[in-house]
């Protein structure tokens, strides 16, 4: 059972269907799209789709440049988004995004029971089922359409339930999602609580309307162009930051907010500087809480699903299974709760479509093999092909580009079965699970320079890490990379008979 019809639920349903796994998708919404049926409030996405790239739109390599289309197996259904965008921006509008998701669902025959609201969840013991390891416990979802029962439930319910931190008076001010028509802020002093993208998105939209804009929170603003990751305010929304830096009238404060109080027709906001402890009261006509969202997990915590962080994300294994309740899985933006290695503090892109669409495909394969007795064939590689294949995946494999340090391409080096392509797996799973001799390649970043390849060799159960040099054109083919990769593979291949 899959709950949710945003991009995560749709991608998972598509991938499960292609593996022959029976399932039902339930959704409280009336049509596909999830949160993109409403947001972003200023109606344009943050994630791009590049029309012209030098690679064919029907190729897998194009996915690196198209962050917004879901990922089919058939060429005919690839790259839905660039075909329907109007070309005025490489960021699709919200309606274009919604149309793209609707088109993908329709063309690939994804079936969803819309208007079916998940209300509560029970775990009940069940006799072991044939063909999988899921016996012992079933889940029963009570919905507005009656009870549904399954051994595995995947929740793809988004992280879009408004959250307000416990600041006195903040409960009474509008949240990001309650933003009014922009004209109604004309000549107002607007105080925005929160300095993430949602706060800066609103500030950007209000630049031509508001008299004064204040953005305040205790954390110092980070910019994505500095972190070189999706962490921080994206370039699209940096204009208010420049306005503040050049003293144009926007004010950006690193302060705690102690109280928001109604004051006549407006508000009084008491702020306190964390460094020197000084209090600064501010008067505003409008206060907006751009303070983030939590995962709407309903009664799952009562079932034992552990959550963490301000967003109350469920704690997850590398395969996006609840870390505390086996059989409950997650898809979509909630999968950002599986941190993986998070090297140098850089998160995966699991919070965004271009990252979690791959998680969903990996999860579908994992469920098929571990719960439904499906064995997915592993393509064989000749010994002479392995180096070129791995370098080509590092240069062009979209899974590695979008899910750095999280997803990895694995080839197994087994003297009895030869070299086999094990597909895309979570890197933490590869490093921690043990198993036969194998090599995994990933792209990684340290937040400073260009991304670089990382090679993990598992030999006799022990994993060793090799980091290769970055390349200014991000092309990891060429003799130096070939030599280094061959040296790593030789540590295993030279010790076993060549299957070529």
């Amino acid at each position: 059972m899959v709950v949710g019809s945003g991009p995560g639920g749709l991608q998972l349903s598509y991938s499960l269907s292609r593996l022959g796994i029976d399932h039902a998708v339930l959704s409280d919404d009336a049509a596909p799209g999830g949160m993109f049926r409403r947001w972003p409030v200023f109606q344009r996405m943050l994630s791009w789709t590049k029309p012209f790239t030098g690679v064919s739109r029907t190729s897998r390599a194009y996915e690196r440049y198209d962050w917004n289309s879901l990922i089919p197996d058939e060429d005919a259904h690839r790259a839905v988004m660039p075909a329907l965008m109007d070309g005025t921006s490489y960021f699709p509008s919200r309606p274009e995004m919604q149309q793209g998701l609707e088109a993908f669902a329709e063309r690939t025959g994804i079936r969803v029971r819309y208007g079916c609201r998940w209300e509560s969840t029970k775990a009940i013991s069940s006799p072991a089922r044939g063909g999988g390891q899921g016996g012992g416990q079933d889940f029963v979802l009570t919905t507005s359409d009656g009870d549904y029962r399954a051994p595995v439930v995947v929740f793809a319910v988004g992280v879009a339930q408004p959250y307000r931190p416990p600041i006195s008076g903040l409960d009474d001010v509008p949240h990001y999602g309650d933003f009014r028509p922009v004209e109604s802020y004309k000549d107002h002093r607007v105080f925005i609580v929160g300095k993430q993208n949602s706060g800066f998105e609103i500030a950007t939209g209000l630049l031509p309307w508001a008299r004064q804009l204040v953005l305040a929170s205790p954390s110092v603003t980070k910019l994505s162009v500095n972190t070189r990751t999706l962490v921080g305010v994206r370039a699209r929304y940096v204009q208010p930051y420049e306005d503040a830096a050049l003293a144009g009238g926007v004010v950006i404060l690193d302060t705690t907010i102690e109280e928001v109080r109604k004051d006549g027709a407006g508000f009084l906001v008491r702020t306190r500087n964390a460094t020197d402890g000084r209090e600064l009261p501010m008067v505003a006509d409008d206060v907006i809480a751009a303070t983030g969202f939590v995962a709407p997990l309903g009664d799952l915590p009562e079932l034992g699903v552990a959550t963490f962080g301000q967003s109350r994300l469920p704690a997850q294994t590398p395969f996006w299974e609840s870390a505390t309740v086996p059989g409950i899985f997650f898809a979509g933006t909630i999968t950002q709760g599986a941190a993986g290695l998070k090297k140098h503090g850089i998160p995966s892109n699991s919070g965004a479509v271009q990252g979690y669409r791959y998680n969903a495909r990996v999860l579908a394969r994992h469920l098929a093999e571990t719960r439904f007795g499906v064995r997915i064939p592993r393509p064989q590689l000749k010994a002479g092909e392995a180096v070129g294949y791995l370098l080509s995946e590092l240069s062009r494999g979209p899974e590695l580009w979008h899910q750095r340090s999280y997803l990895t391409r694995v080839i197994q080096l087994d003297p009895d079965h030869g070299i086999t392509d094990e597909g895309i797996l979570p890197l933490a799973h590869f490093i921690d699970s043990g198993g036969p001799d194998a090599v995994a390649v990933a792209l990684e970043s340290n937040g400073q320079g260009d991304p670089y390849p990382a090679v993990y060799l598992r030999k006799d159960g022990h994993v060793s890490e090799s980091l290769l040099a970055p390349h200014p054109l991000l092309d990891f083919n060429g003799t130096e990379y070939e030599r280094q990769m061959a040296d790593i593979l030789d540590q295993v291949l030279s010790a076993s008979p060549s299957p070529a």
């Binding site: 963490f308 301000q310 870390a323």
Partner: protein, 140 residues
């Protein structure tokens, strides 16, 4: 990914932060990220680069060297600082022995954090001195 709003109260009781004021504790809570690990999950991996500085909020963890458990850690304890301070890969695994909630700071940010909070640096130095003393005792 920001931390849960009860974190400030939890860390106020930790000796590492004993000298900080309320607003400073709140600033610390906003600087760190929160992470959760299931029972048996690895947090630091011996020989794997890019790790961070962790402070345990809830649960216990094992220090495992070459597959052998050497010691355990509990709420208020921290780990990963040696690899962050030296800029080297961890020389031990840290494995959750129960479900484990932590605060985490990327390795590259530890220097800036400690120099901005000298009292925390002094407390950390005391912790390292205690570890060194115990190791010396154990060796002699």
């Amino acid at each position: 990914m920001a931390v849960r709003d009860d974190v400030v109260n939890t860390i106020a009781a930790f000796s590492l932060f004993a000298d900080l004021t309320g607003p400073q504790l709140e600033q610390v809570a906003h600087l760190f990220d929160e992470a959760f690990f299931g029972d048996g999950e690895r947090i630091l991996r011996q020989g794997v680069s890019g790790s961070g500085f962790y402070i345990i909020l809830e649960g216990t963890a094992a220090i495992r060297v070459n597959g052998v458990d050497r010691s355990s850690l509990k709420a208020g304890d921290y780990f990963g600082e040696i690899s962050c301070l030296l800029g080297e890969v961890p020389i031990a695994d840290i494995v959750a022995a129960t479900p484990l909630r932590c605060l985490v700071l990327p390795g590259g940010q530890l220097e800036g954090f400690l120099t901005a909070h000298p009292k925390v640096m002094y407390r950390l130095l005391q912790g390292e001195a205690r570890k060194l003393k115990n190791t010396t005792k154990w060796l002699s």
